[in-house]
Symmetry: C2
Subunit: 227 residues, 2 copies
DNA sequence: TAGATTGTTAATCGATTAACAATC
DNA sequence: TAGATTGTTAATCGATTAACAATC
């Protein structure tokens, strides 16, 4: 084992997306009273390659793992939640208080993960002033002011696809820097604005195609077997 | 340009996930009366590399594109919807009729894309027999029979994370082959069962980290500039 | 024709996996 | 010690991009 150097300054996206899984898995282990956890054990539980997990953890852990033992769970949990930003709450606003918007506004899991959706905006006047859980719904006109006042940087779009671009433009004008887009449409944004698309149709296509391919293959195998 | 051969037998996942975007974009163009569309034009609108789009289309198109013109929109739309399976409705069942479950049950976009969620299951007796839109909610006990009778192959899990594994086991026991998992937990499934995880927390982490990185960088630039 | 667009081959890039020496 | 586990280097794999000849 070599000395740990100034390596791993860049954490790849793929690693980033696995860290929450590690976090919730380790959390469970901690609750059941474990004191140490090894990368190999995590890999086995989560059906991942052990080297992959080791590399991921090496990138975020403040301590080096101990051979034969693994990582101290308390320390590792702390490192992970620091790294993931679960300690400092990030604020976000949401536009489009339909069924998906409501769902996100009331979802308590997000706040555990350091995201606090502070308010919802909608153009429907009937909704204005109402509360979903403890979150107020405000008219679109108040958005610019709200963003300026609170300095919030993340905007969530949950309006229908045909209104998404317009909402997106408004968000950008207000000073929002990162957009989490749940509408099934690609957004045009100025350079420097981050967009993460949550694309349910694409996921579905991938899944159903894998299924179709699998069924064809299984079928062929059967034919071969019985012939 | 060489002759088109028996190439592109394998369509990569990444391509698969882009095809729905092409589809909806081309659909819009068709509605606005265009007759031909070029891969280059699609690439520009969707901010993708032109070669990537050409390759993707080459994999699914029955015709070869015409230099200077591109692809005949009608033919291409037909190829795409055939390939994506939008023509033959795939049936799916859903377990967990909470707010997310309801959302999916009533979402009409899915049926446009060839997925028909035929029924919802829930363990809450108060819901049994109710209808969400035109979909019935049935007790869990009826699931095995329903799957056997209809031959449905896709199951959607929208229960809380701590119940997901149990539901997953039930689905597999019933004969479901592909699972679309919206619960934030990894599922243990027997070999051969397909799982697609819809992982909101992971997406969020990736987005907020990119944002943090960007803000640090922008900050540094400012400091450099002003000093 | 000239030029926009095509499809293919080769190069590049990024992520994952294999191999291995070091350590408790 | 012996063996499980660590972190690093090199090889592999898959997807994207660059370069280019062919075509209408």
């Amino acid at each position: 084992m070599r000395k740990k150097e100034e390596s791993s300054l860049v954490i790849p996206k793929s690693t980033l997306s696995r860290l929450p899984l590690y976090y919730s898995h380790i959390q469970k282990m901690q609750q059941s009273g474990e004191e140490y956890v090894s990368a190999s054990a995590i890999a086995q539980s989560l059906h991942l390659n052990p080297v992959l997990v080791r590399k991921d953890l090496a990138g975020v852990s403040s301590t080096t793992g101990k051979p034969r033992l693994g990582f101290n769970i308390t320390v590792l949990m702390n490192d992970l939640s620091n790294f993931l930003g679960y300690n400092k709450i990030d604020e976000a606003i949401l536009v489009g208080v339909g069924s998906l918007g409501r769902l996100l506004l009331t979802n308590k899991e997000f706040s555990c993960m350091g995201l606090d959706i502070t308010v919802g905006f909608d153009k429907d006047p009937d909704l204005h002033g109402l509360q979903i859980g403890d979150k107020f719904i405000l008219p679109m006109e108040k958005m610019a002011n709200y963003v300026k006042r609170t300095g919030v940087k993340i905007g969530i779009i949950t309006v229908p696809a045909d209104q998404a671009q317009e909402v997106c433009d408004q968000l950008v004008d207000c000073g929002i820097l990162a957009i989490w887009n749940f509408a099934f449409t690609l957004l045009n944004v100025p350079q420097g604005i981050l967009v993460k698309n949550e694309n349910l149709p694409s996921s579905l296509v991938v899944l159903s195609h894998q299924l179709a391919k699998k069924m064809v293959k299984d079928n062929n195998l059967n034919i071969t077997k019985t012939s």
